[in-house]
């Protein structure tokens, strides 16, 4: 559904996105992570034809956004951080205005979507009277009106309270389950991404530093957690015997191919190094993300 190839974007002399290649297949919930200024919104802007790439190819739904924007966005819905509406108009009128930029939309379709997001009864009220949660629901409604196949969500939980965040998470899961939408989710809320996304990409200073399955991250990439009074001696011995290839943070080991935790335990016990515990580590997305962004970032010019 989304295919970015060697996409590069410069604002003046500052590189916002550096040679980014990314593919989001149909039916996936894909997470786009990164700190503020990492290039997430610029990347989304390029997917929606709001930001022109300096070079590279951006394809959405099989069409090049730069040259065939109308075809590319025909079946795309988008929600942005702090969705903006015409506050002095009703929710219904806002939906009519926004939907007519895509295609003629019947009142029946609007009613159906309003009901789906749970705004029935409030659609004739002016948007200025809406709560934050209601605005978020209206944002979902406007994104659903063109009957999209792809939904692009740029920080949709931003500014919501914990209850609103949970509601948004449930809605995204429902959109994927009931409407079979492909979803690109950009978020700072790592817990939400961990629960919702099947695959993620991490951007750091405009560069993609990781792309992979959330399940693989959770499995810790074969990392093993070792609890021992002398971690340095233990890792030195295990390295010498070729059982591990690396260690991290004074507690994690990366096993060599074909080696098991039993090999680790046996080697350490035979060498009289006490082992208090050894198990396969399940990494949280937060741990993984922080370990990625803590790595020395490249300076781009």
């Amino acid at each position: 559904m989304i295919d970015l190839r060697q996409v590069h974007k410069k604002f003046g002399t500052r590189v916002a996105v550096h040679e980014l290649t990314l593919a989001v297949p149909r039916g996936e919930i894909f997470g786009l992570l990164g700190h503020n200024g990492a290039g997430k919104s610029t990347t989304i802007g390029m997917m929606l034809g709001q930001v022109w790439p300096t070079r590279g190819e951006v394809k959405v739904c099989g069409h090049d956004v730069t040259t065939h924007r109308a075809q590319a966005l025909q079946k795309v819905g988008a929600i942005f951080e702090a969705p903006a509406f015409y506050d002095y108009l009703s929710g219904q009128r806002n939906l009519e205005i926004l939907s007519h930029y895509s295609a003629p939309t019947s009142r029946e379709r609007i009613r159906e979507v309003v009901e789906w997001v749970g705004l029935t009864g409030r659609e004739q009220s002016k948007v200025r009277t809406y709560s934050h949660g209601m605005r978020a629901r209206l944002a979902i409604a406007q994104a659903l009106l063109p009957q999209p196949e792809l939904l692009i969500l740029d920080e949709p939980g931003s500014g919501l309270d914990p209850e609103g965040i949970a509601e948004m998470r449930q809605t995204i899961a429902r959109l994927h389950r009931e409407l079979c939408l492909t979803i690109l989710l950009s978020s700072h809320l790592l817990g939400e991404v961990e629960q919702l996304c099947s695959r993620i990409a991490v951007l750091n200073q405009g560069r993609k530093v990781f792309e992979g399955q959330v399940a693989d991250i959770k499995a810790g990439h074969g990392r093993v957690m070792l609890r021992t009074p002398d971690f340095a001696a233990a890792t030195a011995l295990l390295r010498e015997r070729g059982i591990i290839t690396g260690s991290l943070d004074g507690k994690y080991l990366t096993l060599s191919a074909g080696r098991t935790t039993a090999d680790v335990a046996k080697t350490l016990v035979n060498a009289d190094i006490r082992v208090d515990g050894i198990w396969h580590a399940e990494q949280t997305l937060e741990d993984f993300y922080l370990s990625l962004v803590k790595a020395a970032p490249p300076v781009l010019h």
Binding site: G45, L73, G77, F80, Y88, I97, H100
Partner: protein, 282 residues
């Protein structure tokens, strides 16, 4: 679709309270001028001018005459201010508020979006001018009789203009003058719209448009630039008043109208080009 998008654009323009505050301000100024004309020496000055030229003042101190007196200063001062304010908001305010990002996540081309917005702005400017012209006439009719039109003013050349017309012809000329005033308003709006389409705040677009108009007006009145009058946009804005000349200098009026239409179109194309090239970010 184009019609639906245009209708929505008008909803956005006419749904704002500020729109009516602007209309209200115009009507208040008109009411104040009407009262001043009715109850001060202003009226007697007109009577004196008519009598000195051998006309019966009671035949020409009429609703049409007073309506034209009410409209003239508004066309010069209030209209540029208000139209530039609306034109400056058309694109830049949507970018500032974030609604432009919502719109541009839709499969509408930027040129089409700007075309709809510009056309909406043109309709708004036309409604504003025609509604105010009609309101001035209705208000004047309440206090003054329906009789001939007396026009007193200065031509662009600086020479005084004195015109007397029967009521029917006066009404035609009054209506025509408003059609030409619509061209003025559309040109002012288009200039503000052009700046609004570039990467700047709405207030900056309005100020730039007003500054450009003001600069034209100042330079037009510097004696050194006398031979270059056609180069100044404000010179062409005077076409609406020329039709009260007897006979009306139609070639000059048509030339000014074509020039203004060309300036509006150029401003739109420049704005659309700038908008097409820029990045829209939050």
């Amino acid at each position: 679709m184009f019609f639906a998008q245009l209708t929505n654009e008008l909803w956005k323009l006419f749904g704002k309270k500020r729109t009516y505050i602007g209309f209200g301000a115009f009507v208040l100024v008109q009411a104040a001028m009407l009262i001043i004309f009715r109850y001060t020496h202003w009226q007697s000055h007109f009577q004196e001018m008519l009598a000195n030229n051998g006309y019966l003042a009671s035949e020409y101190i009429s609703a049409l005459t007073v309506a034209l007196v009410m409209v003239s200063p508004q066309a010069l001062l209030l209209m540029p201010l208000y139209v530039a304010l609306v034109g400056g908001d058309l694109v830049a305010k949507e970018v500032e508020d974030g609604t432009m990002r919502m719109i541009l996540s839709r499969p509408i081309s930027r040129v089409r979006l700007l075309s709809v917005k510009w056309l909406g702005g043109i309709i708004f400017a036309a409604v504003l001018v025609l509604a105010l012209g009609a309101a001035a006439l209705v208000a004047a009719r309440i206090l003054f009789p329906w009789k001939g039109l007396f026009v007193l003013g200065h031509l662009p050349s600086g020479s005084p203009m004195f015109g007397i017309f029967p009521a029917a012809q006066g009404l035609v000329l009054y209506s025509l003058s408003h059609l030409f005033m619509v061209t003025n308003a559309v040109t002012m709006l288009s200039i503000a719209f052009m700046f609004s389409s570039f990467n700047m705040k709405p207030a900056a677009a309005t100020i730039l448009a007003l500054s450009y108009l003001f600069m034209n007006m100042v330079m037009q009145h510097i004696p050194f630039f006398e031979p270059y009058q056609n180069w100044f946009i404000t010179h062409h804005f005077e076409a609406w008043f020329l039709i009260f000349q007897n006979p009306a200098p139609w070639p000059q009026i048509i030339q000014s109208e074509i020039t203004l239409a060309a300036i509006s179109t150029t401003a739109f194309i420049a704005g659309a080009t700038g908008f097409q090239m820029r990045d829209i970010k939050s």
